[in-house]
Amino acid sequence: MASLDDLKKRIASVKSTQKITKAMKMVAAAKLKRAQDSAEKGRPYSEKMNNIILNLSEGISDKENAPKLLSGTGKDQIHLCVVMTSDRGLCGGFNSNIIKKAKSYFSRLSSEGKELKIITVGSKGNDQLKRVFGDKIIENISFKNSKNANFFDAEKVSKIIIEKFQKEEFDICTIFFNQFKNVITQIPQAQQIIPLKTDIDDKEKSEDNYEFEPDEDEILINLLPKNISTQIFKAMLENSASEQGARMSAMDNATRNAGEMVDKLTIEYNRSRQAAITKELIEIISGAESL
């Protein structure tokens, strides 16, 4: 049995850990609120953008010669996967969930004989992927210095992607991120952004005929790169809300576990203290008896 002194030290150390996790939980909760707000505020932009593109792609006259960002290269040999994770750890299964999703996608690709290229956004994803897929990672982007997800960063990522697309370095691009559902649930998502998948819902299909100025094709050429930035920005917003949510629940659990541990250790401490007292008493009594 550990000595009384050791137990005392352990209780103190668990208590201070509990203080840290508690503080982290509070910080995450405050940040979560902000991240959720900005995710909500960012929604109208991406929705409208989607709507316009939908209308445009329907109105496009010459489907054969549609911009490549919309129609694709016609092949699906080389896949580019953009794995978006956080830059910080201690957020439960947040990063591992994305990585797991991405890895299962990667193994499916390789079993189909496709070529794989990876861009990681966020250093945690890079850390986890470089062991197995190190040779596949062509770029690692990290925004450690930006406090919140901002559109400027999203544009940087999309610029890299579009440049690579124009050099025909890949055919299909998919982004991986966590979608925020609620504080406890974040759903890892794989979303294909090049070529663009337009899920045309018959209900939302508008009957209007638009005027285009300049013509559809030219607008699309200008709009599609913007849409990619928008999609990436959306993913970043969802990701940052998810990260804070995941951290909050992870730290909540950690705080609770630390509390349980303190209770257990305290009981053990009291027991051994009692045992020591009893032992001393027995020694005194038996010493007195033997006289």
Binding site: S38, K41, G42, P44, Y45, S46, K48, M49, N51, I52, N55, L56, N150, F151, A154, E155, S206, D208, N209, Y210, E211, F212, E213, P214, I219, N222, L223, K226, S229, T230, F233
Partner: protein, 130 residues
């Protein structure tokens, strides 16, 4: 018959402006300035650097934009832009700075004609505000 329609300006971070009592909006569309009144035909167009003028009962408001896309449908005008500033709030020092960056950009040789055209536009507009 009311002559007003709805206007919404959104940027990626938030909904920037929302009004339902505008009477006319003048936007710097790619092929020239375009005034939009109520019951305009449905249109999609994109913007070049310039000034958006919004007329409502309260008077005129001016915003500087660098890029964006507009959609007008059923008397709803949506402007999507990633960079928009109220001219009233723009400080001179900031405009000067933006001008400087733009001038450096246009001096480069390796930019495409279209990019050069857009930057020259931007410089011109910034000069008028200044």
């Amino acid at each position: 018959m009311r002559e007003e329609f709805k206007l919404e300006v959104v940027n990626p971070e938030k909904s920037f402006l929302s009004k339902d009592d505008v009477t006319e909006v003048v936007v710097p569309a790619f092929e020239g300035e375009m005034g939009i009144l109520k019951d305009h035909i449905s249109i999609i167009s994109f913007l070049k650097p310039g000034i958006i003028k919004i007329y409502s009962k309260l008077g005129e408001e001016k915003y500087y934009v660098e890029d964006g896309i507009i959609e007008f449908k059923n008397n709803n005008l949506s402007i999507l832009t990633s960079s928009i500033f109220n001219i009233k709030d723009m400080e001179k020092s900031k405009i000067d700075e933006m001008l400087k960056v733009a001038e450096e950009e246009t001096a480069k040789d390796n930019i495409s004609d279209q990019a050069k055209y857009l930057i020259d536009q931007k410089i011109e507009v910034l000069r008028t505000i200044n």
